[in-house]
């Protein structure tokens, strides 16, 4: 019975993603939208000044392709000391590695995507205490 429910949930998630919407975000998951695209991401481990982290990223619709990811401190006009890499983890899912935010303050996370032949940029502001 439990397996059937899990199957239904996964099916609902896949249907939602195929139609352009992401499954509901769980705890600790950030959501950002730009036009028809929704991006959900979660930092692993949690964001801490000076500690390397990875991002688990879900892009909806799954047909959208994640091209690049980067981050900077706009007020200070400097970026990270690292260039992150992206690894596909299945349709609509990506893992970004090699991120490190070395100062407290406002960071802007930027994700460049390609969707329906168009490139678009998703930005999210994150303040690191």
């Amino acid at each position: 019975m439990r397996g059937a429910w899990m199957g239904l949930l996964l099916l609902a998630s896949a249907v939602a993603q195929a139609r352009g919407g992401c499954p509901s975000a769980g705890p600790g998951v950030q959501v950002v939208r730009e036009g028809p695209v929704e991006v959900q991401w979660r930092a692993l481990p949690a964001l801490t000044v000076g500690k390397p982290f990875a991002l688990d990223i879900t892009v909806c619709p799954a047909a959208a392709e994640l091209l690049r990811i980067d981050a900077s401190m706009p007020e200070h006009r400097h970026g990270m000391n690292y260039r992150p890499s992206l690894t596909p983890q299945g349709p609509g899912h990506w893992r970004a590695e090699g991120l490190l935010w070395h100062m407290s303050g406002r960071w802007e996370l930027r994700l460049d995507l390609k969707h329906a032949g168009q490139e678009l940029r998703v930005r999210q502001s994150v303040t690191l205490p």
């Binding site: 007020e75 006009r77 690292y82 100062m103 407290s104 205490p129």
Partner: protein
């Protein structure tokens, strides 16, 4: 007596206990203070060094560290510059090893708490402790070996050869480079055990977090005011973050990088070294697989012009035992360090946007307070 304490508390504002005072700290300040601990931190084992946690390697590494035979002329050991009684540094602005001449343009860093550092050296030219330990063995103005001469010495010296065999359970290998790296891994195993003790700040932090007002009040009020400056208006904790009081990265803080005959490129040179070297975590001498999480930063490094003249943000623990300060040892006292930030020459700094560092213009009392806080980061 109790009513007297209550009246004093009402008049002074801060919590007042006996002759001591606990300043009020906001929730945000408490969170920041919490982020500077707990201490000690336990550095996870470095899988790039297969002998790091082996007692035999630690013992042999300790012996090697103190052995002048590890220099080509038998005159200096690692401990000559990293003096155990001086928090494993030398107390000099820059080292003078050979004939009284400066051997380097950079201050000798303390080796306390080196385990777990992401980058080693003022320029971060190494991403692991064994590569950093090997470097001075091969510098002409330090230990003076060539790779082949060092390997030949280990093979020919019965004690060194036996020490190698004891730790690595095999005779010294024919590969000169590998033999030198293994020697450095034993040195690293010893250095990874060097941890600084708890400090008055750690006692205060822990007492504050558990709500122990009486114990927290033992922390001098000048240090409390200095702490508020450090995490507040001074913005020191933007870079001096976490339990080590360092973000582990690099910055230009307006200390001149000109040296005799040119400029010290700092992180720009260190990046080229670590990215191009065979002795990094991605190279063939690492004992960890390529998937080792500690190799991730090395794999993602970028070299940019802004790194020129940047130097590693040092941790601040045991500061009173590690003078003089800055990458070139140019500031003799903690007061001079505080004055540097108070009277900062902003024109000297790299900055395209909002300045990260600003001239603090501290009052004399604030300068005293900030120095008192910095002192509290050292054991007595």
């Amino acid at each position: 007596m109790r009513w007297r304490a209550a009246v004093c508390a009402a008049l002074l504002g801060p919590a007042w206990v006996g002759a001591q005072t606990l300043l009020p700290f906001t929730a945000q300040e408490r969170a920041q203070i919490a982020s500077h601990g707990p201490w000690p931190v336990s550095a996870e084992a470095d899988r790039s060094n297969r002998v790091e946690r082996q007692p035999a390697a630690v013992a042999w590494g300790r012996q090697l560290f103190h052995d002048p035979a590890l220099s080509i002329d038998g005159r200096v050991s690692c401990a000559s510059c990293h003096v155990p009684g001086l928090a494993f540094q030398d107390g000099k602005a820059v080292p003078a090893v050979r004939g009284g001449k400066p051997a380097a343009a950079r201050n000798t860093p303390s080796l306390l708490d080196v385990a777990g550092l992401r980058w080693l050296g003022w320029d971060g030219g190494h991403d692991n402790l064994w590569a950093a330990s090997r470097a001075p063995l091969l510098k002409p103005d330090e230990m003076g070996w060539t790779v082949s001469a060092l390997a030949a010495r280990v093979r020919a010296d019965k004690q060194l050869s036996a020490g190698y065999q004891r730790v690595f359970r095999a005779p010294p290998p024919a590969d000169d480079e590998r033999l030198g790296v293994d020697l450095a891994k034993a040195l690293a195993a010893y250095q990874a055990t060097l941890q600084s003790p708890r400090t008055p700040f750690d006692q205060f932090r822990d007492a504050l977090l558990r709500g122990d007002t009486r114990r927290a009040s033992d922390y001098p009020v000048a240090a409390q005011r200095g702490l508020k400056l450090f995490i507040g208006r001074g913005r020191c904790s933007v870079c001096h973050a976490g339990p080590r009081f360092s973000n582990g990265e690099f910055a230009d803080i307006g200390v001149p990088f000109f040296v005799a005959g040119g400029a010290d490129p700092g992180r720009h040179g260190g990046l080229q070294q670590v990215m191009g070297g065979a002795l990094n975590r991605l190279g063939p001498y690492s004992d960890a697989p390529g998937t080792d999480p500690r190799a991730v930063p090395t794999r993602h490094l970028v070299l940019e012009p802004r790194h020129f003249g940047e130097f590693r943000v040092p941790g601040l623990r045991q500061l009173t035992h590690t003078a003089p300060y800055m990458h070139n040892g140019s500031l003799a006292t903690l007061e001079a360090v505080v004055r540097h930030y108070s009277e900062l020459n902003e024109e000297r700094l790299h900055a395209d946007g909002e300045r990260i560092l600003r001239r603090l213009d501290l009052t004399p009392q604030e300068s005293v307070d900030l120095a008192a806080f910095l002192r509290s980061l050292s054991s007595r």
